[in-house]
């Protein structure tokens, strides 16, 4: 099946360090799959194994249904967009894009035509004769993309391709890369440590940590229902609370922190009375003052204010827990530190998490 990637229990070690610990992953043809995780989680290693720069210690890798063990990089139906672009400085823009076509032995006429079309695709029309050191970061990024997609690979591997761009450009490139993928319908395997980047672009996200996949989910589902403390933390769930289950009754679990703060969570069937749990609550689901939003209403005091422009994060101390409460800029009112407030959140906003 062209464009499918099948990773079967792959293990890779560097000396004593286990980079990949029996990772399995199925990528569908035409899918935009993102590997998300902090540096050292094994995501880049996985990409390098697929590209053929390194070989796995154990396990099998199938690309388009074919076992690629022993295949050198230049015989694999994949191409890579490198983190720092890896453009050839001794070649022009067109020379870079033509490199792979020349290696395939295409005629100069066909090569020139394909190069021109690829440059159009990445909006670099007419810049073919430029030297690489005359390009901006965003343009280099586009050349790197064009150089890889012009070869029409079964799978395009992207290794943190936007890490070197400034934030504004990065946001633009996200949309561009996403559009490119939708047009080409090529399988994209995209590696990043930026959760926002992953959310904007990916069809599915595999969150990786310590050489293993922590959670693999469709993007929206992952955002709404992180399964572990690590994933919740990495996806920006800012209220992570350790508590003990005191009762489970009528679809609601009652939780109590060590300091005696009591609140309720919607029971997903995983709460056991007497057991310790960790739960997460997104800061935008917690309301301050006004009409109580949901089952939990807690008194607290205002501890701190973090101004973020489009929103403000308030730190509210309630019992032994400091909650982070996000308020959109339009709703923010002037408040003083130490002021008593009431916070409220629905039981459904309390997500039960597993320890990683």
């Amino acid at each position: 099946m062209r464009g499918a990637v099948s990773i079967d229990s792959v293990r890779k070690t560097y000396g004593d360090v286990v980079a990949l610990d029996h990772v399995s992953l199925e990528v569908q043809p035409g899918e935009f799959m993102t590997l998300l995780g902090p540096s050292g989680c094994g995501k880049t290693t996985l990409l390098r194994l697929l590209a053929g720069f390194e070989a796995p210690d154990e396990g099998r890798l199938l690309i388009s249904g074919r076992d690629v063990a022993g295949l050198p990089p230049y015989e694999r139906p994949v191409n890579t967009v490198f983190q720092h672009y890896a453009l050839f400085p001794h070649r022009t823009v067109a020379g870079n894009v033509a490199f792979g076509l020349e290696a395939r032995g295409l005629s100069p006429a066909v090569t020139a035509e394909k190069v021109a079309r690829a440059l159009d695709t990445v909006r670099l029309t007419g810049l073919g004769e430029r030297r690489i050191d005359q390009l901006s970061g965003g343009q280099k990024q586009r050349v790197a993309l064009a150089r890889a997609v012009v070869l029409e690979p079964d799978v395009l591997l992207l290794d943190e391709p936007m890490a070197a761009l400034d934030p504004k450009l990065r946001k633009e490139m996200r949309v561009e890369v996403k559009n490119l993928q939708e047009r080409l319908r090529t399988t994209f395997l995209f590696v990043t440590h930026d959760q926002e980047e992953a959310l904007v672009m990916a069809d599915r996200i595999a969150v990786m940590s310590h050489g293993r996949i922590e959670q693999l989910e469709r993007t929206e589902a992952l955002y709404e229902r992180p399964r572990t403390r690590f994933v919740a933390d990495f996806l920006g769930v800012r209220n992570l609370i350790d508590a003990t289950v005191t009762a489970v009754d009528a679809g609601l679990a009652t939780l109590r922190t060590r300091g005696g703060l009591v609140f309720r969570a919607a029971d997903d069937g995983g709460y056991r009375p007497g057991a310790g749990v960790v739960v997460g609550i997104r800061s935008e689901r917690v309301h301050m003052n006004g009409t109580p939003a949901g089952e939990n209403t807690l008194p607290g005091t205002l501890d701190d204010e973090i101004y973020l422009g489009d929103r403000t994060d308030w730190r509210v101390r309630a019992g032994d827990v400091v909650f982070t409460v996000a308020e959109a800029a339009a709703q923010v009112r002037d408040r003083r530190r130490g002021e008593p407030v009431t916070i409220s959140f629905p039981a459904a906003a309390v997500l039960r998490l597993e320890e990683s």
């Binding site: 590209a51 990089p73 230049y74 490198f82 720092h84 490199f99 792979g100 290696a103």
Partner: protein, 279 residues
């Protein structure tokens, strides 16, 4: 911020060294080459171009051509032998072994070239170690010494570090992700070598070739000791004009022509050499 005057001050020591050790001797040599030789080997300060007229005699032109071809083949051999060594040192060797191996490359410099050439004589002569070993295998002794082969061997041996070091410097700096990119884009190892690795190490190649070619052109030790003085190269010729024939004007003229030839060569290859100096 530095003023213009400060910049001049900073460059002054360098200018003084160049003036005292390069421009002045060259000027003296140019003058000497235009003077005449006294019967006893001194200088007679009467202007003449006779030395240059003599230097373009086919006999001497032929010696110059032989010298160029020795320097050229020495450079080529050093490149062919040195590039794989530099590549291996730069990209293949484990980092912890690198320094030790680099020391091995420059270790020969701890001994005088003269002494090392005598060592080669012991290896290559008729009853030398190589022929003894061959004899033990029943192979008759080979004429290894006092010929062009021996001269070239000595030259390549002596100049090889000057090729390896600049090559190593440029290969070591090579961005490995470019090599990966080449393979990723479908280039076989051979294609990658000729389309990426070699073009990107061009500055090192240019620098190495220059550092080997120029001294080889004026070489006189290896031709003298390993060539047995039977084979004439421009370096020996100049040396013998000063030391044996006591004809300083003619020796100066030959030297000056050699300098001009090198300058012409530098001008021809100015483009890759500029890349080398920028790298």
């Amino acid at each position: 911020m530095r003023t213009r005057r400060q910049a001049v001050l900073l460059i002054l020591p360098c200018l003084a060294v160049l003036a005292g050790l390069f421009v002045l001797p060259q000027a003296l040599m140019l003058a000497a080459s235009l003077w005449q030789r006294s019967p006893y080997g001194g200088l007679v300060r009467e202007w003449t171009v006779a030395n240059y007229a003599r230097a373009v005699d086919p006999l001497y032109v032929w010696i110059l051509v032989r010298s160029f071809s020795l320097a050229f083949s020495t450079t080529l051999l050093c490149l062919v032998v040195g590039w794989p060594v530099a590549y291996w040192l730069g990209l293949r060797v484990a980092p912890r072994h690198k320094n030790a191996l680099l020391v091995l490359v420059i270790l020969p410099f701890w001994t005088s070239f003269l002494v090392r050439l005598y060592a080669w004589i012991f290896l290559l002569r008729q009853e030398g170690l190589v022929n003894l070993a061959l004899g033990a295998l029943g192979i008759p002794p080979l004429p290894l010494l006092y010929n062009d082969f021996a001269v070239m061997l000595g030259q390549v041996y002596g100049e090889l570090p000057f090729m390896i070091l600049p090559l190593y410097a440029s290969i070591e700096k090579l961005d490995r992700s470019l090599l990966e990119a080449a393979a990723d884009l479908g280039a076989t190892p051979v294609r990658r070598l000729f389309r990426v690795t070699l073009p990107l190490t061009e500055p090192g190649i240019a620098a190495g070739c220059l550092l080997v070619f120029i001294p080889s052109l004026g070489a006189f030790l290896a031709p003298d000791l390993l060539g047995g003085g039977r084979t004439a190269y421009i370096g020996n010729l100049v040396q013998s004009q000063f030391a044996v024939a006591r004809d300083m004007p003619f020796g100066s003229a030959l030297s000056f022509l050699l300098t001009l030839a090198v300058l012409a060569l530098l001008w021809v290859f100015r483009r890759p050499l500029r890349a080398a100096s920028e790298a």
